[in-house]
Symmetry: C2
Subunit: 256 residues, 2 copies
């Protein structure tokens, strides 16, 4: 199996390195990842500036893949259309992200956007994130082992090509992982705050507050299951059409 | 009616100015938009740098709203949580974008992301884009008049709060608009290319090709109807869960 590995924390992120080591047990891994950190960039793509690339070696001086001066979704696009066009990957993995991507945060996530981009190309794609609990450092090697086990089991199910999954691993500081749950994305809003400040020149600016809190997650959702200490697996799709409302709209009369 | 107007082309974009002039016929309009151009930024948000704001006047030196040094989604978040918290808008409009946002391009679009952000806050939100046909300049005033008529008719339907719509106006160079159609988002992939080049220092880089072509759009979709000269209205939602696949996954057995 050929695996394309990308992320949004950048090609030198420890989460990517740990996941690469585990994925090598499943097949041939090529990394095409952003040169620098790209968190919360969502499904940005680069149209108006060039995408510089550079070959990257691993810690043993072996070819690992490419660093791209672009977004996570650019990396997947460039890998499939150019860099790996002669050896197309069977599977695309994005991660291991430092911080969970559950609930509506899925829409802000560069990690998930890279996987969605893979699904655009009809490749099975899996985003993997590790919940972050301050102030302890993240145990990426153990989380990557969990991630590999989950990915292995997903692949074994032989879902249709282009299937798309969002996997979250609970903070390993909360105690042993309780199990794996297939759950829907939570859609409730988060509580957010801004911190208003004045700069030395008298200009107003705002900092986004540190916490995105989801006060009342649905009990059967990724946010709840992750809070409860389960690894969550959420199958995703990218048709944003609101089918029920579209049905009602068929009766609307329009004029120009 | 109080309307929050934003966009991804920036506060000084002619599409925003034209749409503002039309929306003033429907209510009180406040602009909170990015200070500069932010196309194809998707649902990026700004977490790690401060959001500078500046009050902006219109062509008659009247207060128009704020320019934000951030993403379209930041503008909506900041407007609802801070700038307009004492006068919350009844409606959020994002546009008028220079270029269509249909099919899977919806996921790359900063214009649409701003509307999705509004829906996160349970506000009815409408993204509006004008198809771009080179090389003619865009007729924003006429397109904005069409946009206002569509928005007026959507509002009159009194859909639930938080309803979300993606409106596209066909290129006005193709002849008279044929009508308005409620259609689903097209999900077929686009044909894309990269142009590989070598810089003067010998480094490889790629430019994204100029055209995103959707070779076989579904006949009942936003892409087809727009191609055919109709204004398209697509109701959206932001639950990315693949419900059918999730149903099948309930039978999967997992191990750790």
């Amino acid at each position: 199996m050929r695996i394309l590995l990308t992320n949004d924390d950048g090609v030198y992120a420890p989460g990517l390195r740990a996941l690469r080591a585990e994925l090598k047990k499943l097949g041939e891994v090529t990394v095409v990842a952003p040169a620098g950190e790209q968190s919360a960039v969502g499904h940005s793509i680069t149209l108006l500036t060039p995408l510089l690339i550079q070959e990257v070696l691993d810690e043993n001086n072996q070819a690992m893949g490419w660093a791209v001066e672009g977004r996570p979704a650019d990396c997947v696009k460039l890998a499939l259309l150019e860099l790996l066009k002669d050896k197309p990957p069977d599977l695309i993995v994005s991660g291991l992200n430092a911080g969970s991507n559950a609930g509506i945060n899925v829409l802000y996530s560069g990690t998930v956007a890279a996987a969605i981009e893979g699904a655009f190309f009809q490749r099975t794609s899996i985003a993997v994130s590790l919940e972050y609990t301050k102030p302890k450092p993240l145990n990426f090697p153990l989380a990557a082992e969990y991630a590999r086990k989950v990915i292995e089991q997903i692949v074994r199910q032989r879902t249709p090509e282009g299937s798309l999954f969002n996997v979250n691993i609970p903070s390993l500081e909360k105690g042993p992982v309780k199990g794996i749950r297939a759950v829907p994305q939570n859609v409730a809003a988060y509580e957010e705050t801004y911190d208003r400040r004045i700069d030395p020149r008298g200009r107003v600016y705002f900092w986004s507050g540190p916490d995105f809190r989801c006060p009342v997650p649905h009990p059967d959702s990724d946010v709840s299951a992750l809070n409860d200490g389960y690894i969550t697996v959420t199958p995703l799709q990218f048709d944003l059409t609101h089918a029920a409302l579209l049905g009602r709209m068929k009766g609307w009369e329009w004029s120009l």
